[in-house]
């Protein structure tokens, strides 16, 4: 592999007075799959949003293919070939499934290729083909998730930022989605940055893993080594099932009553 496509340097992002990203640096190489793990509120989604331009960082730089993209308008970032499949679906609820997919290819003009890709998405998710004229807002949660991913694929990105793609999908579909991602990565060479709660599948797919906590990266290594790590096993892969409980019960106690 080798060449760095995405280089994040010392990013700080805020929601008003709240600091959500506290100086994050990481590199993604061409053709790599990188996964970001972390507890709730660690700032994973914020990190992806900052990359795709949905949020502006206050400090730091993001280089994509050597050029700065931080603080750019999101559609320009998309124009460079970065697609963000957001957390929580975000489909266009009053448009049909088909129209949603058409919009996925908004930046493209190669009609024939678009049609091929649409067919590809329909092959991946046959239910979408069946429901092509249904308004996206009335799809079930999982169906919307499929649509969001399919729509992301329609962009033919160089790099995909996936925010919890397995959210609300059935176990069977989770397997399928990850198989698709793997194929895309291997066959088309699409670089990926993946945020997942389902750490096991994520680490299996990924080459590199980062662990975030309260806005910082606290651990980074290859996925193989991360999977061996005791901490990762305990907190993200769910090994010591019973021990954790008693601890958590009195970890945070009331300060007043």
């Amino acid at each position: 592999m080798g060449e760095t496509v995405l280089d994040i340097q010392n990013i700080e992002s805020f929601y008003g007075p709240i600091m959500a990203i506290r100086g994050v640096s990481l590199k993604v190489e061409q053709g790599q799959v990188v996964t970001v793990l972390g507890a709730n509120g660690a700032g994973k989604s914020t990190l992806l949003k900052t990359i795709s331009g949905i949020m502006d960082p206050e400090k730091g730089q993001i280089l994509f293919e050597g050029r700065e993209i931080q603080g750019m308008e999101p559609h320009k970032v998309v124009g460079r070939g970065i697609v963000h499949v957001p957390e929580g679906r975000e489909v266009f609820p009053l448009l049909t499934v088909e129209e949603n997919l058409t919009l996925g290819a908004y930046t493209r003009s190669d009609k024939a290729e678009i049609e091929k890709d649409r067919q590809m998405v329909f092959d991946y998710f046959p239910i979408l083909a069946e429901r092509r004229h249904q308004e996206a807002g009335t799809l079930s949660g999982g169906q919307q998730q499929m649509l969001a991913i399919g729509r992301g694929l329609m962009l033919r990105p160089k790099i995909m930022l996936l925010d919890e793609p397995s959210l609300g999908l059935s176990p069977l579909l989770v397997q399928e989605i990850f198989a698709i991602l793997k194929r895309l990565n291997k066959e088309e060479g699409v670089t990926m940055m993946l945020v997942e709660q389902n750490a096991r599948v994520a680490l299996e797919l990924a080459d590199m893993g980062y662990v975030m906590e309260v806005g910082r990266i606290v651990m980074d290594d290859t996925s193989e080594r991360l999977m061996e790590s005791e901490d990762i096993k305990a907190f993200y892969l769910g090994h010591q099932e019973d021990g954790a409980r008693g601890e958590r019960r009195w970890k945070r106690k009331k300060t007043w009553r």
Binding site: S52, G53, I54, E73, P74, H75, V78, G79, V83, H84, V85, P86, E90, V91, F92, P93, L94, L95, E99, T102, L103, G104, Y106, T107, E135, G137, T138, L139, R151, G152, L155
Partner: protein, 291 residues
């Protein structure tokens, strides 16, 4: 005969309402913003054309002045978005509502300073000449209004339905963030639609002015056009035309058949009636959220 006459002039008027309503709906469809200054836009469009063409002002030929006015209003609409509304991007719709109401104040003030407060008449070739079809009279301007409105509605409808940009505009109104993720330049798209609605307002204004005199407070008409858009189902282009026609037709019939004092209530009473039975207009664009 009388009924036909009432119907025909009602349709012509309805088209004026429909044209203004079209402006409302355009903006709503593409941004979900509501432009309370649309009526004032129309007034401004009319006065711009008047300023260009009337002998007292610049005296350009009408057929040059009218398209020029449309272009000027389109540019104004775009600039308005660029310099003002864009700063409210992502802010609640109420903020835009208040902003456009205040904008109406400013537009009326500026227009008053430039063109004065007295009614004026546009020197329009459409203003002269009537068709008399077996006792039913139809003014040239009426005919023009009907033709232009129907054509414009059709074109815009096709635009939203068939073109990529039209689809992108709808997407941008439903989920700005997701639209950005698709690479849609949401802000620019918004500017374009404000420009477009400025142009539509100018067309409406020119046609309206050709039907009679205009004055600075002619923008008041916007409220009735607003009602028309809502009757049609805010966000639906054919709905806007339909709503306009309904309001337009109900008026002459009400003034003919209802006693004085009651007739002017008709459009608003009708509006309330429609909303009681169809809370989101005839061509409803509102859905129940799936949870």
């Amino acid at each position: 005969m009388e009924v036909v006459q009432l119907l025909v002039s009602g349709l012509a008027n309805g088209c004026v309402y429909g044209l203004i309503a079209l402006g409302f709906v355009l903006i709503y469809k593409a941004t979900e913003q509501v432009n309370f200054a649309q009526g004032d836009f129309m007034m401004l469009g009319a006065f711009v054309c008047l300023g260009l063409t009337n002998a007292h002002y610049m005296g350009l030929p009408f057929w040059l002045a009218a398209p020029l006015a449309v272009v000027i209003m389109a540019v104004l609409g775009y600039l308005l978005d660029f310099f003002v509304l864009r700063h409210l991007f992502g802010q609640s719709q109420t903020a835009v509502v208040i902003l456009t109401i205040a904008l109406g104040f400013v537009i009326r003030f500026v227009a008053g300073v430039i063109w004065g407060h007295e009614p004026q008449t546009l020197e329009s070739p459409l203003a002269v000449g009537d068709f008399n079809l077996g006792g039913v009279v139809l003014g040239m301007a009426d005919l023009a209004v009907i033709v232009v409105t129907v054509l414009l509605t059709l074109c815009l409808y096709q635009f939203f339905q068939r073109t990529r940009l039209g689809l992108a505009m709808q997407a941008a109104s439903q989920n700005q963030m997701a639209a950005y993720f698709m690479g849609i330049p949401v802000k620019r798209v918004q500017g374009m639609i404000w420009g477009l609605s400025g142009a539509v307002a100018a067309v409406a204004g020119i046609l309206f002015a050709s039907k009679g005199a205009i004055e600075i407070s002619s923008g008041l008409l916007g409220i009735k056009a607003f009602a028309a858009a809502v009757i049609g189902g805010f966000g639906s282009l054919p709905g806007a035309l339909m709503g306009g026609l309904i309001v337009g037709v109900i008026e002459p019939f009400a003034s003919y058949y209802f006693p004085a004092g009651y007739s002017q209530i008709a459009p608003y009473a009708l509006l309330l009636l429609v909303l009681v039975f169809r809370p989101h207009g005839l061509f409803s664009q509102v859905r129940i959220k799936k949870v």
